[in-house]
């Protein structure tokens, strides 16, 4: 059935699809986010789950005039709540080539004398210093993995802030970063700290190799 585009069921599925697509396509030079939802349909599959078919428009975080159309299917599984939703997508056209930006970033990090450490990206006033934008994007892309893995029809996640990031020294050609992110879950309004281990290489893309939800800290 056709779903009203302004209502939350379609919007939650769209957000999940966008997070997954961002994780699969992104890196320090490219992050996609949801710009618009053009159409949404839902099919209830007996004993399987709820399948959403979506037409999305995504935009490049670094260049909001650059958009890409996309179709996606999201299947929320019935029964096993520990199974991440299945997402399939097709992008219309090509994404920008980020080889140059990737190599610049890669060499910058490789040539640091001390491992990179940063916190509060963005800060309280929403500022991200330009030098930290690739680290921010990498965190944004990696958060797409966590959002995908933990989404249900009753959740709507966004990355609220990168609380901290520490580069981890490696002996091979990969870059490794330990991120502490804060996810905002809109239905419960919770702020959920999550630790991520992120690997990246210009030719091999982004991989989240470990993640764990942290206890919600209620400061007194």
């Amino acid at each position: 059935m056709e779903l009203p585009l302004s209502h939350f069921p379609a919007r939650r599925a769209a957000a999940l699809a966008a997070a997954y697509i961002c994780y699969r396509t992104g890196g320090p030079g490219l992050g996609l986010r949801l710009r618009d939802l053009r159409a949404a349909r839902r099919e209830d599959l007996d004993d399987v789950g709820h399948k959403y078919s979506l037409e999305l428009v995504l935009e490049d975080i670094l260049d909001r005039d650059t958009t890409v159309n996309c179709t996606a299917e999201v299947l929320y599984h019935l029964g096993n709540k520990n199974l991440a939703p299945a997402v399939q997508f097709t992008l219309e056209g090509d994404l920008k080539n980020t080889d140059e930006a990737d190599n610049v970033f890669y060499n910058q990090i490789k040539s640091l004398e001390k491992e990179l450490v940063a916190e509060n990206i963005p800060d309280s006033h929403g500022t991200i210093s330009p030098g930290l934008e690739p680290i921010h994007l990498l965190g944004w892309v990696a958060s797409g993995y966590v959002i995908w893995q933990n989404s249900t029809e009753n959740t709507h996640f966004h990355l609220a802030q990168i609380k901290g990031v520490k580069q981890v020294k490696r002996n091979d050609e990969y870059l490794e970063f330990d991120y502490m992110i804060l996810l905002h879950e809109m239905v419960s309004q919770d702020i959920i700290p999550w630790q991520l281990t992120v690997l990246w290489h210009p030719q091999h893309g982004v991989q989240v190799t470990g993640d764990s939800q942290q206890p919600t800290h209620q400061p007194e």
Partner: protein, 378 residues
Amino acid sequence: MRSRSACSRGWVSRRTFSLSHPADLLVPFSSLQEVKSFLEARNIPYSIIMEDVQKLLDEEQKNMTKSRRERSTSTFDFGSYHTMEEIFSWMDTLVENHPDLVSKLQIGQSFEDRPLYVLKFSTGGSNRSAIWLDTGTHSREWITQAIGVWTANKIAEEYGQDPSITAILDSMDIFFEVIANPDGFAFTHSSNRLWRKTRSLNPGSHCIGVDPNRNWDAGFGGSGSSSKPCSEIYRGPYPHSEKEVKAIVDFILSHGNVKSVISIHSYSQMLLFPYGYKRAPAPHHQELNELAKKAVSDLAAVYGTKYTYGSVADTIYLADGTTIDWAYLNGVKYSFTFELRDTGHYGFLLPNTQIIPTATETWPALVDIMVHVLEHPY
């Protein structure tokens, strides 16, 4: 000749004076007679150069304060995020600069005894129909307090200039609570930028605070809120348990003539109306929907920012005990919630560079609602 020290504040020092060098004495009123007698008895001529120094000091202090505030009005940076103290100080400036239009009321105190200030915009009359606006209910939604300041300033500036605002204020009053959750706001500055709730203590729990937008007596206690104090959507032990909420309830009920409640939040880019506590459409759904449609269209016309609109329950989630459901159930037909920029890219941490654009685009939407209220009395 020695001159006796005539005052405890000591302009006068114990030293020798010569006839050719006049000395100034600052004399407290209680010693005035004594000093005069002393001087007269020794044939020392004197004249009074200032009758009342204190009065002059008071005058000077007043002028200094005034010019500091005047300087701060024209230099108040609407495009930055401010502390509560800065916003409170700016409120006083606004009142001083528009004494015939704006006054500041205190409708109560927060849990931690901070004032709950409301700006009243009124051109006179007696208990005129009124519009209520609030920002900062959820303290982490910093864009709201920031546009609250800009918008209050705009209302004051546009009276007498903009035909719509002039028409509205010629027959109605506007009440604007810019910092609806001052304890939470202070906490976002001092400790946790992402704090949402009030800061009230919950007996038996180590978790603090109640969601001030789940604490109203409207469908209280449903699935759109939580019974757990540690939850961000904790409804509180009972409706209106929060002083911040009770103050508004008491104000609106005792006023008796509030025709619209507009509660401003962030983020998601939505314009919402009742109900949140149930899916069934409100009796005025069609009218509210049409008005929301027009408002978001005029908002989008400014910079292209797209908003969705509809009832809370359809558009965002089931939420019970909300401000606008309470207002609506208590006869305030035109009850709306804004969820301002953005849609999740920066979320609560919206860059300050977006404050003025957000305020600017939201303005026509607010005016649309207020004009509709004016033109549809009930």
